[in-house]
């Protein structure tokens, strides 16, 4: 059993290596030295304490979005709408942050709760139709992303725009600030919340009756149904929880980092989270590692854009390649485990 896991991990690492090699070729193709890109990335991600804090800062929303993705994946569902929930949650928390005057801790909690609630509401309709009528949640949540981004932009610019030139909302009150960890970085308590969520999700799935029910629904929904698990209700609730965590990620980003909401708020974190969760094979603990990896890539890419001619989007290319390589290596694993059709394993 242990050797299975080791073999799986090895496969994953080999796939990552292959993806990085292809990435290197692509970097060569855009006239840049792969070695220089790599060195710059590592330097940008871990070169000094500020940069390490920056990496953890980038990691935080990826981790929380990744946990949101893990939650839905575990039940065999794809919530690809985390990006949208992040935006909606971010806006909701900001609104609480600048509209109310509350005592410090209460204000933060209220803002985060509202962000989670907003994320939950944002996925509620797709979740309902998925649960009740089996409407493909992949497409509905992706389409909802576009609406979420446009809606928050509309609210920011047409309704709540701060006087002055910038397309952003008024700043939140200081009572709503999520405390920062170091004086030199915007890194904040959100990281701890993310790690706690990961551990909580892990314990939930492996130790509790409800977690067992969700896992079995993901592994073999007919078996779960037969065992008396209410698939429709559980699907609905699971997607709501996943959406709530996605919204929470946005709340943490606005209360901990930006302290306001603006156009292009936290772009791509939702998708990165989904990818991090997939790369970790849906394991919440594994997602901590993959989110750190992607956070480092992201943070390193900031320096990349300054120091080299490469664009920082090159890292999304690398991320995509990693996922493709990992999804392909299943062939080897499949043969080993001789899995047959008929089961709905979401794992790739």
């Amino acid at each position: 059993m242990m050797s299975d896991r080791v073999a799986g991990l090895m496969g994953q690492l080999i796939a990552v290596a292959i993806a990085l090699a292809i990435g290197a070729v692509i970097i060569l193709a855009v006239n840049e030295s792969p070695l220089r890109v790599l060195v710059t990335l590592i330097d940008g991600a871990f070169g000094n304490p500020e940069r390490i804090a920056g990496t953890l800062l980038q990691m935080t929303p990826i981790l929380i979005c990744g946990i949101a993705a893990c939650i839905s994946l575990r039940g065999g569902l794809f919530n690809i709408g985390i990006e949208g929930q992040l935006f909606i949650g971010g806006f909701a928390a900001t609104w609480v942050g600048f509209s109310f005057a509350l005592p410090p801790l209460v204000h933060v909690l209220f803002g985060l709760a509202f962000a989670a609630l907003a994320g939950m509401l944002w996925i509620a309709v797709p979740a309902f139709f998925r649960a009740r009528f089996n409407t493909n949640e992949v497409v509905s949540t992706i389409l909802a992303n576009y609406v979420a981004i446009l809606l928050t932009s509309y609210l920011t610019i047409n309704v709540f725009k701060r006087p002055g030139g910038q397309p952003d909302t008024p700043a939140i009150l200081e009572s709503a600030y999520l405390p920062q960890i170091f004086s030199f970085s915007r890194l904040n308590w959100g990281l701890f919340i993310g790690v706690a969520l990961a551990i909580g999700a892990y314990l939930f799935f492996t130790r509790t009756a409800r977690g067992y029910a969700v896992t079995e629904m993901g592994a073999n929904p007919k078996f779960a149904e037969y065992g008396g698990i209410d698939i429709k209700r559980q699907t609905f609730v699971l997607l709501l929880v996943s959406g709530a965590v996605g919204g929470l990620a946005g709340g943490i980003e606005s209360l901990g980092v930006h302290h306001r909401f603006m156009e292009g708020f936290a772009p791509g974190f939702g998708f990165d989270g989904v990818i991090a969760a997939l790369l970790a094979n849906g394991s919440p603990i594994g997602t901590i590692v993959t989110a750190l990896f992607f956070g480092a890539l992201r943070n390193g890419s900031l320096l990349l854009e300054v120091d080299t001619t490469a664009s920082r989007e090159i890292i999304t290319v690398i991320q995509a390649l990693i996922i493709l390589a990992v999804s392909a290596q299943i062939l080897v694993r499949r043969r080993a485990s001789d899995s047959t059709a008929g089961e709905r394993r979401w794992k790739f």
Binding site: M1, T208, N220, Y226, G228, E343
Partner: protein, 508 residues
């Protein structure tokens, strides 16, 4: 006497498992040649080798006296061999003619000529006496007609030797008889039929020659007329099995399950149950017989809460449970051994322990305050593994690495270890070897002795006759008759299974 097919010393291995070992087979032209054996005896593997679906590791194939290598089904078809698979491979949204000519379309100017295909299908159907409407969509047709289409497909490809894999498994006795007649028509026209079955009756009825396979080896090939059923059983299993009726005391318990006027629909929205009523008493095994697809699956699903009833009542110990959730029905005291155990009965990727947990994960002492007691689960799993003699390395072993019989024992262990008063047992020994079947039958009898009310759904009549106190026969969503298990004949059940309005005694 010329040979249509001759297989010489065929050996086929899958990894370390030997599916066919040194099997030789000589099939004379113009004969119906049956190949019988238990599940897993290697019948289907051998036929797949002959049809080019599998490559033999050793051995030679001769067709019409000529040595052939069959790398794929196309080569087998070119050599005049056709195969009708056990599971039909028809496309529901296409017409009969489109299905018959799929893969060899008649084309005019590059486009498919639907008219010509319909005409040719009608012609074939006429010639071989297989009635079909060529323009009809296959999705709307019955299983018996689908089989005719499969046979037409083979004929349209010019087959002179037809292999039929378990052709009667899905047919009523009447449809089977019609099929046999068609097959005799084929051999009368000089064709050859290879017929795979494990139904002794049919083999005796229709075949000219029988080859018996056991554990991948050929045991004997004899003219059917020289054999008795007992001989065949002896050869198939290597020892005489007592599928005799299990001894038992009289049923004295009170009714536990009372079903009255139950109606339900299938996936397509058609009535699958049409007013079913019966009761099961404590310490009684009530058997449900019938050809697959006559409402048994739907009945099991409605009773276990997996399918809504559109009308009628189900009372369990005086409590109405129809249209309650699967969970509520489980809690009310229904245990369910599902017919499709690999789909419904287990999570193949999960461990034995995880499979034992299903349905009770939120009950004390399995879990407390929503947290699973893993020590308790492990202990109980170990206890059930020894109690039900499940051959597994540990409670942590994934179920998919167990054999079919042991997977079924995992399901039985879970379902029979609760305190349910009513056990719904659907096809308990399908695809299970003889040894495990015996064990499963004994376990069901033990549950009867323990005073459980048991509904046993099976397509195997010998199983029902061995175990049931009463046998209800289902046909087209209705119960056609209620027969005593004691002293009933397969013939009497068969007549009811075919929907023949019952024997005079029933009219009363």
């Amino acid at each position: 006497m010329s040979l249509a097919i001759e297989l010489k010393s065929i050996t086929k291995r899958f990894g370390s498992f030997v599916a066919n070992e040194d099997v030789s087979l000589a099939v004379e032209r113009g004969r119906i040649h049956a190949i019988i054996g238990e599940n897993g005896a290697g019948k289907t593997t051998l036929m797949n080798v002959l049809f080019g679906l599998l490559q033999p590791d050793e051995g030679e194939i001769f067709i019409d006296g000529e040595k052939k290598v069959l790398p794929n089904p196309a080569a087998a078809i070119a050599a005049g061999i056709g195969m009708v698979h056990q599971h039909f491979k028809l496309v529901p949204s296409l017409t009969v003619a489109e299905n018959v000519f799929l893969g060899m379309e008649i084309r005019k100017g590059g486009l498919i000529d639907h008219k010509a295909q319909i005409a040719r299908t009608a012609e074939l159907s006429q010639k071989f006496g297989l009635r079909v409407d060529p323009g009809e969509r296959v999705g709307l047709l019955s299983v018996g007609i689908e089989q005719r289409i499969e046979i037409l497909k083979v004929l349209a490809r010019g087959a002179r030797t037809i292999i039929l894999d378990e052709p009667t498994a899905v047919l009523t006795p009447q449809e089977s008889r019609e099929l046999f007649q068609t097959l005799r028509g084929f051999v009368a026209q000089g064709m050859t039929v290879l017929f795979i079955s494990h139904h002794l009756e049919e083999v005796m009825e229709v075949s000219d020659t029988v080859t018996v396979l056991r554990h991948g080896k050929e045991v004997a090939t004899r003219p059917t007329a020289e054999l008795t059923k007992a001989d065949l059983v002896q050869m198939m299993v290597g020892r005489a099995v007592s599928f005799d009726r299990r001894p038992r005391g009289p049923v004295t318990g009170k009714p536990v399950l009372e079903v009255s006027d139950l109606w339900a629909r299938d996936e397509r929205g058609l009535q699958a149950l049409k007013g079913v009523s019966f009761q099961v008493r404590a310490g009684e095994i009530v058997g449900i017989a019938g050809v697959a697809g006559n409402g048994q699956t739907e009945l099991a699903e409605v009773l276990s809460g997996l399918r809504p009833a559109s009308h009628g009542t189900i009372m369990l110990a005086g409590q109405a449970i129809q249209n309650r959730s699967a969970r509520a029905i489980r809690h009310a005291g229904v245990a369910h051994v599902p017919g499709d155990r690999l789909v419904r009965g287990v999570d193949r990727g999960a461990s034995v322990a995880q499979n034992i947990l299903m349905g009770r994960q939120d009950q004390s002492p399995w879990s407390r305050f929503g947290v699973i007691d893993r020590t308790y689960l492990n202990e109980q799993t170990k206890r059930l593994i020894s109690r039900f003699d499940i051959r597994t390395r540990s409670p942590e072993t994934p179920v998919k690495s167990l054999s079919g019989g042991n997977i079924q024992k995992v399901v039985l262990a879970r379902e029979f270890s609760g305190d349910a008063g009513f056990l719904l047992v659907d096809q308990p020994t399908r695809g299970v070897d003889i040894g495990a079947t015996e064990a499963i039958h004994s376990e069901i009898m033990r549950q009867r002795e323990a005073g459980k009310a048991i509904l046993l759904i099976s397509v195997q009549l010998d199983e029902l006759i061995a175990l049931a106190d009463r046998i209800l026969v289902m046909f087209a969503g209705r119960i056609m008759g209620d027969l005593p298990g004691e002293g009933v004949s397969e013939e009497a059940i068969g007549l009811l299974m075919a929907g023949v309005e019952s024997a005079p005694a029933e009219v009363a």
